[in-house]
Amino acid sequence: MTHIEELESKLDQNFVAIRYNVEIEGPAIRPENDLDVRNILPTEEPYKSIALAVLYGDMDASLSNVNDGLEAGLSPVDIINNGLMKGMDAVSLLYTKGFYFLPDLMLSGDSMMEGVRVCEKILGHKSETKGTTVSFVAEGDPHDIGKNLVVMFLRANGYDAIDLGRDVPTTEVIDAVEKYKPLFMTGTALMTTTMTVFPKVVEELQKKGLEVPAFGCGGGSVRKDFVESFPMSVYGVEAYHAPKLADSILKDKKTWKELRKEYSEIVGEFVSEYA
């Protein structure tokens, strides 16, 4: 031990200098070293690598890991549930912690979906999901960033989210409801001129005797009082609320009326619009 090492061993660094930036922000750690993430991530290979590729939003690695796993004879269902979805669970967790941001979520979501697609091809059918949802952007409206986020959050949480795209005519929405019998549907619009189709969609559904447990409406200039002026609907405030609403329909059999009443409770945070 050199002289300086001996002195250093006696010294508590924070006694002489505190790195306040680190104190405030927390030290940089690799995402997989977050304690809560560690609890989520699988420990055995190749699930661990598959989950890590999703965690890092590395599409190439995700695909090659999944292919390796399939070649090694693992079941596609196991790869999805024990690998890809675990990685995505960790991503969602880091997002709520404020460690990850939207673009991380988008990249990881893509990596996960690519892996799922490969697995489903082997499987020959859709993998089992929590349920099916349908999302669309109002007819005449091209603004789909909000819808894309909703779809991504739903998929990240294990839903088979059907994406109808932008500028979707009402008839197509009705057809999709008929075909998929979704657990939950979302409609988004940026322009006030186009949000007027939401009540028309509901009207058409009712005419055909169709129903969805809840129709989440949101985006740009869409407001709660407008959404609540017609039935079946619930005003969605943030894109990441969508899977929580879907979960409460799935697990607790909540109706659209209950969603409106218990929104804050269901999404688990204070929502000023519902205060």
Partner: protein, 550 residues
């Protein structure tokens, strides 16, 4: 006395501006403006929506009523008016011209096919007072300049025309500072355009204490040694110094005698607060680090964290838009030779603060504040009507590419970064890293010594010897709804006190009503009989009355 006059008109989203010119001397005689648009609502989409719900005819009439009122206060003999030139965005000009607007209200083919809409050409047009209902000499010519493409209107053409950069070598950024900001990037005459839906926060709307620029509003803030000094608009819309306050508590540090009392804050004021707050750490996105999480200004004007997120997202739309243009065009923001700021907000905002918050590229070196270019181009047309042909060939011959932001994958990626910054507090260094990861350019750092060229003192340089007249606009819309029980729920729910009820006759003041962005009246109606679209102008009611009387 046989004076001949011309009238230059600018129909903006936030109001109408008119100027009378003496055709012999080309001098401005007088100016009249309104402090709001005659149609209910805060942005063009509200106006569009209103027109679709209430009907194009009614909307056109409301607009022309207002314009006729404005030109009456120009203080000239309207019988001697021989030329009128009008400029504005495609929506306003179409409403003025009373032509199809639905192609502007919907995107994509589905809605337009269903409604069987044929988009009009929107070429340069000369029309008559009778056709549009303008109360000037019947023989006067009315000039309507062309749109560049249907979604990029004559207002954008005016911006490019007045910046005079279409034939210059170099890279130029021209940006309008409105709710729907037209932005153009010109590279050696090749024009890339887009329209950023910045949102009404940029004009002070959707901000709790926000207001359009009007007397008593805080329009700028200045950093002092002890706090922030407010700049308030007085009754003549000129800036005056106000109190100096501690923004985290609202405590007055020094009171300005005879200062106008603050009734709210304009979009430029919010941008100023945002810029200063970010600089001194009072704002740490998305939070305000004061004891009650608000920024306090003079006379109980304050900003909430929600306001900060709203203005942030609006500014983010600007940055994402010009970055998208630069990426589409394959140029670096730092290579831009000059940045032009158009529109009233673009004139009154402090460019250094704009630059600081990223509303214009931080690397901007030469910055020009142009003021109201629409009105300026209308004046040019009055003085030289042959300009109309030139503008037509300029608009149609322009080598231009319009980037539809809503469908641009570049914009989607960048805008998600903006949301991350303003809603989640992603640090800016990470924003730049993401841009890099996506293969886009990073936002270059602040220019060391930006040069600001402010050519005039006001956004309208010359008011004329008769000066400025502020015209109050507003009409009454009326309806009797079948099944109305006179319960007055609509009246109670109207946040703007725009509704009165007399014997079952519902009257709505358009100058107060927030329109389609609100609709609390219709939505609150317990019997669901309040149909906003059934409201009619008093004139139409009278006409209908007259018909039945016959």
């Amino acid at each position: 006395m046989n004076y001949k006059y011309g009238i230059a008109l600018d129909i903006g989203t936030s109001g109408i501006r008119a100027q009378a010119l003496d055709l012999k001397t080309s001098q401005v005689i007088s100016t009249a403006i309104t402090l709001r648009h005659p149609l209910p609502g805060a942005n063009v989409v509200d106006h569009l929506h209103f027109a679709i719900e209430v009907g194009r005819e009614t909307t056109h009439k409301l607009l022309l009523d207002a314009i006729n009122k404005v030109i009456k206060s120009l203080n000239i003999d309207l019988n001697n008016v021989t030329r009128v030139a009008v400029c504005g965005n495609s929506i306003q000009l179409s409403l003025f011209h009373n032509i199809e607007i639905r192609d502007l209200a919907y995107w994509g083919q589905h809605a337009l096919d269903r409604l069987k809409v044929t988009p009009p050409q929107r070429d340069a047009t000369i029309t008559t007072p009778e056709k549009v209902g303008l109360e000037v000499n019947a023989k006067a010519e009315i000039y309507i300049p062309p749109a560049i493409k249907h979604e990029i209107g004559a207002d954008a053409l005016a911006m490019l025309f007045k910046a005079d950069i279409l034939e210059k070598k170099g890279i130029f950024l021209v940006s309008d500072f409105g709710t729907n900001a037209e932005i153009a990037l010109i590279i050696n005459g090749e024009v890339y355009t887009c329209s950023a839906a910045a949102g009404p926060a940029i004009e002070g709307q959707m901000i709790e204490k926000g207001r359009l620029a009007s007397p008593g509003t805080i329009c700028d803030l200045e950093l002092t040694n002890y706090g922030w000094k407010t700049h308030i608009l007085d009754d003549n819309l000129l800036t005056q110094e106000g109190d100096e306050v501690d923004p985290s508590t609202g405590k007055i540090i020094s009171h300005k005698e005879n200062s106008a009392k603050s009734i709210g804050i304009t979009g430029t004021g919010v941008i100023a607060a945002f810029s200063l707050g970010l600089d001194n750490g009072l704002i740490t996105l998305p939070k305000i680090k004061s004891p009650d999480h608000q920024i306090h200004l003079q006379d109980d004007t304050y900003l909430t964290e929600k306001d900060i997120v709203n203005i942030g997202k609006a500014l983010g739309a600007f940055r994402a838009a010009y970055l998208t243009l630069a990426e589409e065009a394959g140029v670096l923001l730092e290579d831009i030779d000059a940045t032009f700021m158009a529109g009233a907000s673009g004139f009154y905002v402090d460019p250094l603060k704009s630059l600081n918050v990223g509303q214009i590229p931080p690397s901007s070196q030469e910055i020009y504040q142009m003021g109201n270019t629409s009105l300026a181009m209308a004046r040019d047309l009055i003085i030289d009507p042959s300009l109309l042909d030139k503008l037509q060939s300029m608009a149609k011959g322009m080598r231009s590419k319009h980037i539809m932001l809503a469908t641009s994958s570049i914009f989607e990626k960048i805008y998600s970064l903006e949301l991350s910054i303003y809603e989640q507090g992603m640090p800016f260094w990470m924003y730049n890293e993401w841009l890099n990861k996506y293969g886009f350019q990073k936002v270059a750092p602040r220019s060391f010594n930006p040069q600001i060229h402010r050519i005039f003192e006001r956004d309208i340089p010359e008011l004329g010897k008769e000066g400025l007249h502020i015209t109050k606009v507003g009409s009454i819309l009326e309806a009797e709804f079948e099944g109305c029980t006179n319960c007055k729920t609509c009246l109670d729910h109207c946040p703007e006190n725009a509704i009165t009820i007399e014997n079952g006759l519902i009257k709505v003041r358009t100058d107060l009503c927030s329109g389609m962005g609100c609709l609390k009246c219709a939505l609150s109606c317990p019997n669901k009989v309040f149909k906003y679209g059934k409201l009619l102008s008093s004139e139409e009611i009278k006409a209908a009355q007259a018909e039945t009387d016959l």
